[in-house]
């Protein structure tokens, strides 16, 4: 596997005016983010609201300038393109390769444009196709996501939430991108529709050899779809690990807390945990000194309050964590200890019942 995208020491801060007499304040949305995306993988970025996951996505596609650091794209043919060093005009050709799918299918489609034009617009802007070729491309892309050709003349309001999300996906895919950033792409959908869209994203990935950055707060979905997970907290990457390792044995206490908080759809695995989860995310403007998580961490020691841990490989694993005690802590994962086949077999058995009766 080769690296498709590299994010190095990226920081993003906003300046808040302090009013008439107050001093200006700096809000650090991202602090020194380092990560790489391998070609063909699905990398998930998870965290709670305000952790910077969306800002990071926007900094990668250059929808927002970074304050510091570099984002480098490595096209599959070879070469390096430092996206953060390019101006708008120089960026344009690379915008075909890196595309985005947004969370809310209600607000991310222009209500005054027909579906055909929504999907055709990127082709027109990049002057890739016109006339019959453009029409064919748009129709075939929409067919791939399950929107029939006779519906292309309608406006977005005529479609359900799931269909609108499909249109958003078609708009991203029509330029044959290499990297797709999906920002909470299934969060606004009902579970049955969410499952359809997750399957669609998987099929499209296989068919077009895509790489995904999947930004989400839903760890159940992330476990299902991602190969690797980056966990963010208050603008920092606190853990970067292959999915199964993270869910088996997380190496950062915040990852453990997220997994602990995740409700699992099995009443037999109900948790009695009131003491485990503490506090709330601090306001970004007064981030704690030392480790950003120490105010809520049940394992915190004096060192955590004084010294900020850096993201580093955890000895003996393929995981990276920003915790002073990543090697020594035994943190709890999310998988069941007993083999999980039992549960799925019971469900399959139950699912088969009316099927038999129907024959």
């Amino acid at each position: 596997m080769s690296t498709l995208l590299r994010v190095e020491h990226v920081s993003k801060h906003y300046t808040l005016s302090g009013g008439l007499l107050g001093a200006e304040r700096r809000l650090d949305a991202l602090s020194d983010i380092n990560l790489s995306v391998e070609a063909g993988e699905t990398l998930a970025i998870v965290g709670e609201s305000g952790c910077g996951k969306t800002t990071l996505g926007r900094c990668i596609i250059q929808a927002q300038p970074v304050s510091d650091g570099r984002v480098t794209y490595h096209p599959l043919g070879g070469g390096d393109v430092e996206l953060t060093a390019l101006n708008k005009r120089q960026l344009k050709p690379w915008r075909q390769d890196i595309r985005m799918i947004f969370q809310d299918p209600m607000s991310s489609l222009n209500p005054n444009m027909r579906v055909f034009d929504i999907v055709a617009e990127p082709l027109r802007i990049h002057k890739i196709a016109k006339g019959k070729a453009l029409e064919d491309k748009v129709i075939s892309t929409l067919a791939k996501v399950g929107i029939p050709a006779e519906a292309v003349g309608r406006y977005p309001h005529a479609f359900s939430g799931g269909q609108r999300q499909r249109i958003g996906i078609a708009r991203a895919l029509v330029l044959d991108p290499k990297l797709v950033i999906a920002d909470e792409a299934v969060s606004a959908l009902d579970v049955s529709i969410q499952a359809q869209v997750l399957n669609l994203l998987e099929d499209l990935k296989r068919e077009f050899g895509l790489t995904y950055i999947f930004i989400s707060h839903d760890l159940g979905v992330v476990n299902y779809i991602a190969d690797r997970v980056v966990v963010m907290y208050l603008g920092h990457v606190v853990e970067n690990a292959p999915t199964e390792m993270l869910f088996e044995r997380p190496r950062h206490p915040y990852s453990e807390m997220l997994l602990e908080a995740l409700p699992i759809a099995d009443p037999l695995r109900r948790k009695g945990r009131s003491t485990e989860l503490r506090g709330e995310i601090p306001y970004l403007g007064n981030r704690p000194k030392g480790c950003p998580f120490h105010t809520r961490c049940k394992y915190a020691e004096d060192r955590c309050r004084a010294e900020k841990p850096v993201l580093r490989p955890v000895a003996g694993t393929a995981q990276e964590a920003a915790c002073h005690f990543a090697e020594t802590l035994t943190l709890k994962g999310a998988y069941e200890d007993n083999p999980p086949q039992v549960a799925s077999a019971a469900l399959a058995g139950a699912g088969g019942l009316p099927g038999r009766a129907g024959q």
Partner: protein, 339 residues
Amino acid sequence: MTQPILRIEDLSISFSSPDEADIEAVRQVDLTLTPGKTLALVGESGCGKSVTARAVLRLLDANARIPHGRILFQPEGSEPTDIARLKPDSLALRAIRGNQIAMIFQEPMSSLSPVHTIGDQIDEMVLIHERVNRKQARARTVALLDQVGIPGAKERADAYPFELSGGLRQRAMIAMALACTPRLLIADEPTTALDVTTQAQILDLLRQLQADFGMAMLFITHDLGVVAEIADEVAVMYLGDVVEQGNVFDVFRAPQHPYTQALMNSIPKMARKADRVRLNPIKGTVPAPKDRPEGCAFTSRCPHAFGPCASERPARTVVGEGHHARCHLLTRQTEEALA
């Protein structure tokens, strides 16, 4: 067995509109709530779960009607009241609403008054329903805020909603609902707008408060994970019908209605890569209520649909102790077994 505190029987709710035919948002709901227990009402958007919850307090919009059905509220030691027959603004209902049945909403920012402090808003609840003076009311408010885990309750009572975080706002909302120690708490997606760690804290809080107060809870959600976490009983709604109700362990272990089964197969399992199964989503989308089949509402998407499904309403069939489902497959099986 304890006597149920609320029984909803064959309830329907329809909405009129000036230029369209009436829409029957809720067609057939039967629910039973027991004191000290939590019933989770689960379903996808538009299935009528929130409308059902609001109907219990008669908080429906002016164009809503209840064509048939009963909502029988019977606190211990008193006669049952049919809420469906009361006027929404009657004294009888106002004595129940907020006092014996309280409700918490999804988005605390839009359901709390932005121009009153949370202390004043909770005081008001107490003052309306009980004979206490302002000072006593405030003392109760502070105790409540403390009980729901708001740090510095005495000072925070003077805070406006915008000064609190989402989690604290939801706690304040819960404190307000509990102000008059209700017998029944209705929680409409109370954790949907919250982050996972905050959601877990609020679920813990609700569980603990329920144990302290011994109240019944009707918990509306779309999230099966949350259902598994908090419910004793679960009722599944699809397009205005309750299709299945039962003990949470039974329903998750052996769902009987094809819709419940399909819903369970739509969520990713927390499993290792080796045990991963591809999701099996439900075909198509939920039809509009006006296109609902006369029979079982799920017919158009059901993989097992056969003869009578589209035209005949399936009967409520007992499939286990306290476990019911409405599906023709279940009655057909018994017929075949008898034959």
